[in-house]
Amino acid sequence: MPTLEIRDLHVSVETKEGAKPILRGVDLTINSGETHAIMGPNGSGKSTLASALAGHPKYTVTSGTATLDGEDLLAMTVDERARAGLFLAMQYPVEVPGVSVANFLRTAKTAIDGEAPALRTWGKEVKGAMENLRIDSTFAERSVNEGFSGGEKKRHEILQMELFKPHFAILDETDSGLDVDALRVVSEGVNRAKTNTDVGVLLITHYTRILRYIKPDFVHVFVDGKIAEEGGPELAEQLEENGYDKYVGTGATMA
């Protein structure tokens, strides 16, 4: 069974004042089919974990390990990690002017699978997935993320998750900025992917509301660059009622 295993991970970010440590020893094991929610106050390092695992050049791993099926994830380039089965649904998807969604999806799918998708079935698959996510068919000819609303960008991220069929998907605050309808559509997409592909999900969120649609098997509370508490879905319910005050003292709330 595929496993994403993170051991004692320390990560710094480059700043003008030099390297600033963000993650201070993260331990986490995700098996395929499992959904882990990572919750925590702003600035606790949740998104850094997502970006560092995907290989964003801004972040430097200073110690610790991350393996995917026993393979050293940290030794891989960004594209190699994706081809090894890791997917990151980004918090702020980037615009790529002049590159159509259709071209982008086909290019990425070809890279990930190592061969071009079968013409006959691929078109139908894309069309069906777009319909499921209530993405208008005209988006196929639009430039990637250009002029998309916040909700459209997030649906486009989940569209990719459904089409690329990764072994592990990290959803970096996919719920932020979504209204209730969009949140439901996006959550349905994630749940479809879980059902269809047995993907392991690392769901990073500040709020509990997405957990009403995507049921976590495990909840981890992230504070000051590491996991402060772990539990089952009931931990999310406690956070819903009490916020993060218990972990960070005064100042931080659930907002």
């Binding site: 290989g55 380039t77 960004v78 594209d79 990690r81 994706a82 980037v94």
Partner: protein, 404 residues
């Protein structure tokens, strides 16, 4: 009618930032000296407004009065409807599009003893592209004069294609008579050492339309100065440019659109990519809306994509408005570096770096390539962009490109 003069200058475009609107130091473009007489326009020092970005030492061979004629071989394959003549310089059809405006333009005018005239007769619709192939034969400094004349209500596409190695000083006159539609494409696909200055002077008649396309890839120094003047109401000009500069290449495009009559429309879109130490691109877009030119509609845009360190882009849009009664007038200029976040996004979808860079650069040019509307040119352009990208990929991957 309210009269006002508004002038803007962007002497250095800021990367993706807001640009400041200052005062043009050299005064109005309308007051720039133009003349057919060599004595009126001396050899530049490089400090003049129109030469301040240019490597004048490398252009020196083109400033002299004694340019020859044998440095290029010119082959015209015309559409069946078009007519080609070689005429002496005294032909009255020459010199109607305005006077030379800088030193290379005036030396080109005076040195060329003959001219090639391509005429698309009145109301003729050319069934094929007319191709003018200009091929470098020797490095002798050479003058050349071409005139493309679309008579009233004619329609045609003319492609001037420059290849090989040459030292060429060129005049391209473009006359678009009433109601005619002309697309003129000039491709600079020179070999590495070529030096090329070209003054394009276009006059656009009543209800006429000119699509003017410039594509610059090769050469050591290429400096193109397209001027467009409206001579009748309802005229329209669309000026499109693409360029890709490598290490130590200088590519300069200086445009001037003269709205001298009412109710004409101009659209200028130039985009360029640059890579390698010493790559230098210059874009200057002057638009003058004269006091009589009520109802003018103009917009110009320049974008540069800097792919590597050590390359430099200068972008200067200038808009002078002498009447308040206009439809619209605007400009935009931005020079941006290759976006690492775009690269990360694409690579995080499994796309290898080389392919991701290719996607981004092709995307940058995509819309403009579609705008050209001449399939053979579009295909070649895509191939040239691929070839240029191979060079920068070799820097990234450490693998030398295959020699041509």
């Amino acid at each position: 009618m309210t009269a006002q003069t508004m002038t803007t200058d962007h002497s250095r475009a800021v990367a993706d930032g807001a640009h400041s609107h200052g005062v043009v130091p050299a005064g109005s473009r309308a007051e720039r000296k133009t003349s057919f007489d060599l004595a009126d326009i001396p050899v530049p020092t490089g400090r003049e407004e129109e030469w301040r970005f240019s490597p004048v030492a490398r252009l020196q061979p083109l400033f002299g009065e004694d340019l020859g004629a044998g440095g290029v071989l010119t082959t015209v394959v015309e559409a069946p409807e078009a007519k080609v003549e070689i005429v002496g310089k005294g032909d009255p059809r020459l010199g109607t599009t305005g006077k030379p405006g800088d030193r290379t333009a005036v030396t080109a005018w005076n040195a060329a003893a003959e001219a090639t005239i391509i005429t698309i007769p009145a109301e003729a619709v050319a069934s094929e592209v007319t191709s003018v192939r200009v091929e470098g034969a020797t490095k002798d400094a050479t003058a050349q004069h071409l005139l493309v004349h679309a008579e009233h209500h004619a329609e045609a596409v003319v492609v001037i294609d420059h290849r090989g190695d040459a030292t060429l000083n060129q005049t391209v006159e473009i006359v678009v008579d009433e109601g005619a539609h002309l697309t003129l494409v000039s491709v600079q696909d020179w070999a590495d050492g070529a030096v090329h200055a070209s003054s394009h002077r276009a006059s656009i008649g009543r209800d006429a339309k000119l699509k003017h396309v410039v594509v610059t890839f090769g050469g050591d120094v290429v400096r193109i100065t397209p001027d467009a003047t409206f001579t009748g109401e309802g005229g329209e000009v669309e000026m499109v440019g693409l360029y890709f500069a490598d290490a130590d290449q200088h590519q300069e495009h200086r445009l001037f659109v003269d709205h001298a009559v009412p109710r004409c429309k101009s659209r200028v879109t130039y985009k360029g990519a640059l890579q390698g130490a010493g790559a230098h691109v210059v874009w200057v877009g002057d638009v003058l809306i004269q006091a009589e030119a009520e109802g003018t509609d103009t917009y110009e845009l320049n974008r540069n994509l800097v792919l590597t360190d050590g390359a430099r882009a200068d972008s200067v849009p200038n808009l002078e408005i002498e009447t308040g009664e206009i439809e619209g007038a605007g400009h935009a200029s931005a020079t941006g570096r290759f976006d690492d976040e775009q690269l990360f996004y694409l690579m995080a979808r499994g796309i290898p770096e080389v392919d991701a860079r290719r996607l981004v650069v092709r995307g940058f040019f995509a819309e403009l390539i579609e705008q050209i509307g001449v399939a053979s040119v579009e295909d070649r352009l895509l191939a040239s962009i691929e070839a240029e990208l191979e060079k920068s990929m070799s820097v990234i991957t450490g693998v030398a490109p295959v020699a041509e």
